[in-house]
């Protein structure tokens, strides 16, 4: 066990930011979802909400997210950029995403610490907490870019206030 931790730490210190630079995440905290082809966070593993500034863009309207949080929802075409700062110690960010049944034309992109990850959400009947790992270190600026390029009525997208996972005390 100690050997395993030392190996992963050594890889992380060597600048390895892929899976080998982090210990695997237990299933109780995260799982891979084949439908959206992304890793999602189980609701019980969510940490604090990230304070977000008002989004910049068009085509998205304010609505209610999970647990009464703020969410932004597209009804036709639109694009918003939404920024906040994740506290030091957070190992990942969980972005609540809800989407219509038609996937084409809707994407959510997350930029954090020089990393860019993209997700193409698909219809779900409940909020899904999309997990993206954060680079090691201090506070990180996170930017969520939600894009809906489809006018189809089944292609819509909502993103809500992101949460962190990991020890942020």
């Amino acid at each position: 066990m100690a050997c395993r931790r030392a190996l992963i730490l050594a890889l992380a210190l060597a600048g390895c930011d892929g899976v080998l630079g982090r210990a695997p995440t237990p299933a109780a905290a995260a799982r891979y979802d084949m439908r959206v082809r992304a890793v999602v966070v189980e609701p019980d593993a969510l940490g604090a909400a990230i304070a977000m500034a008002a989004p910049v863009g068009h085509g998205f309207e304010r609505s209610a997210g999970p647990g009464g949080s703020v969410a932004w929802r597209s009804s036709a075409r639109g694009r918003i950029s939404w920024q906040g700062v994740a506290p030091a110690g957070a190992d990942a960010v969980a972005v609540p995403v809800l989407a219509g049944p038609r996937a084409r034309g809707v994407t959510v992109t997350l930029r954090a610490g020089g990393r860019v990850v993209r997700m193409q959400p698909r219809g779900a009947d409940a909020w899904l907490y999309w997990r993206a790992s954060l680079p090691h270190g201090g506070p990180q600026t996170v930017e969520i870019i939600a894009v809906d390029t489809s006018a189809h009525r089944d292609a819509w997208l909502a993103v809500a206030t992101p949460r962190v996972t990991g020890d942020t005390r």
Binding site: C16, G18, V19, R22, P24, V39
Partner: protein, 516 residues
């Protein structure tokens, strides 16, 4: 054509183009090996395949360390592949021309399997077909999601996040990563599952060039070796497992290449370190393809000892060093990163399917401790009977006319899924003729390796009656086709008979799996 269908057709064509990349890369590496290292075409093909496996594993480990390294590395490798392919095309010497056909067969086989799976099949969900589930239920009863596992593995590597377990209750360390690495290497653009499916099918159809190389290595003429490779592509076993892409055929292909070198007749005595390194890389790649390779590797190892085929110290040292260099990092991953990674070994060797905390040795001790010698002997006897079970009952049921034609076709495909002789198609004759191949000097080493691979499987698989195709290595099935090809070189009429049988195999394969 509705927009949705047009989109799916375009997607399919993009997938086929990416599948072509596998065959082109094999050709490019092989032709370069033939031209620069002055190797015989079959050995050059093994060298090219070893280079392909190494490239896939470099891509895998680089992305496991830093996902951002994936794109530049992929571009660099694929540009090198394109340059080598163009070089070979402009050169087009005899070796390049000889290598073209087996590589083209791999691509042709992939196109056939993809067409048989998807053309005119509609979709489970309008507008968003679940391609992998379709492949899992196209020909037999619905199979589990094992064909998705390498895709999900690639995706979590790409995302830089590793949930554990990462797929159902499977750990990432439970399934070796070669198919994942090669998919990461060849997938250009987004992460569409159809791209994965096309590339993975093309990787499974590498059994065609591997069969060709094995046949050439034991002295089969080029044309007969190509006919055997075509016959292999239309084996029920190959069509089924090339479409349902759990990585069993890719492992068999690499093991066949390692065995081609080790049991070549005559043995390639020049540059033993290079030849050994290629054999070791192919063997390591086979283990990185699927763990069930171990059954056949053990049988082949014993055959090598019995026939005195050790091929010298430099050869052996190079082979072992290369195999360890390729497979060692994966062993470290299993041991240290996502342990224990022994689920399949406990399943196959100790008959323990539920997950528990016991180690492999403890599990083996307890499983065998609970078994009486009589029960063990009866189990082994059942394994042998299952292995050589006559295909007649299934064929008679098919011919009986009871039930609709579709029902009978599905029943026959299901039977071929579970029975080794039926899964071989016409090459089942070679299975029953195996004792004769053991008596014939020209085929004795390969026949012994094949027979002992099957024997190791029957002896070691714990659960009685589990000598069914997908529970073991698929190398012996390829070797049987090669033995048949060797027999076909004895007389002109034998060659014609092989060609006729392969013709029957192709037509029945197209009808049973493509049109029904």
């Amino acid at each position: 054509m509705p927009l949705e269908e047009l989109y799916l057709t375009a997607r399919g064509l993009v997938g086929v183009a990416q599948a072509a990349g596998v065959a082109v890369a094999l050709y490019a590496f092989s032709a370069a090996a033939a031209a620069r290292l002055k190797l015989a075409p079959w050995l050059a093909l093994a060298t090219g395949a070893a280079a392909l496996a190494c490239a896939g594993m470099v891509q895998f480990w680089a992305m496991a360390m830093t996902p951002a390294a994936g794109a530049p590395l992929r571009v660099a490798i694929l540009v090198a592949v394109a340059a080598l392919a163009l070089d070979a095309w402009s050169r087009r010497d005899a070796a390049d021309r000889e290598l073209l056909w087996p590589c083209a067969l791999a691509f042709g086989g992939a196109v056939f399997v993809l067409a048989a799976l998807y053309v005119d099949r509609g979709a489970d969900e309008p507008g968003w077909p679940d391609w992998l589930r379709m492949a899992a239920s196209r020909w037999t009863h619905p199979l589990p999601g094992d064909n998705e596992i390498p895709y999900v593995f690639a995706d979590v590597i790409r995302l830089g996040q590793m949930p554990t377990p990462f797929y159902g209750d499977w750990l990432s360390s439970d399934r070796p990563p070669l198919q994942t690495g090669l998919y990461l290497l060849f997938s250009i653009g987004d992460r569409h599952v159809l791209t994965y499916q096309a590339i993975a099918v093309a990787l499974q159809t590498l059994v065609a060039p591997a069969t060709w190389a094995l046949a050439r290595a034991i002295g089969v003429a080029n044309r007969t070796a190509l006919i055997a490779a075509v016959g292999v592509l239309f084996m029920p076993l190959v069509i089924q497992h090339a479409g349902f892409v759990w990585p069993k055929l890719i492992a068999a292909a690499f093991l066949a290449l390692a065995i081609a070198i080790h049991f070549a007749k005559p043995f390639v005595a020049e540059r033993p370190a290079l030849v050994g390194a290629v054999a070791g890389a192919c063997g390591g790649a086979a283990m990185l393809g699927h763990g069930a390779t171990a059954f056949a590797a053990l049988g082949c190892g014993v055959a090598a000892l019995l026939t005195g085929r050790l091929n010298g110290v430099r050869y052996l040292a190079a082979a072992l060093a290369t195999a360890f260099a390729l497979y060692g990092p994966w062993m470290a991953y299993q041991r240290f990163y996502d342990p224990p990674g022994d689920r399949l070994m406990k399943w196959h060797l100790a008959g323990v399917v539920p997950i528990d905390d016991r180690g492999l040795v403890e599990t083996l001790r307890e499983s065998y401790g609970a078994l009486t010698p009589d029960a063990w002997t009866q189990g082994r006897a059942l394994n042998v009977r299952t292995l050589v079970a006559s295909p007649a009952p299934a064929l008679e049921a098919f011919a009986s006319g009871s039930g609709s034609l579709h029902e009978r076709v599905v029943a026959l495909r299901n039977a071929a899924f579970y029975q080794v002789p039926l899964s071989l198609g016409v090459f089942a004759l070679a299975l029953y003729a195996l004792p004769l191949f053991l008596l014939w000097r020209a085929t004795r080493p390969l026949a012994l390796a094949t027979g002992l691979s099957l024997a190791a499987w029957a002896l070691l698989i714990f659960e009685p009656g589990q000598t069914i195709p997908h529970q073991g290595s698929m190398f012996p099935q390829l070797a049987l086709a090669v033995l048949a090809a060797r027999a076909a070189t004895t007389h002109r009429w034998a060659g014609l008979l092989l060609a006729a049988l392969v013709g029957v195999q192709a037509l029945s394969g197209i009808w049973l799996y493509g049109l029904s």
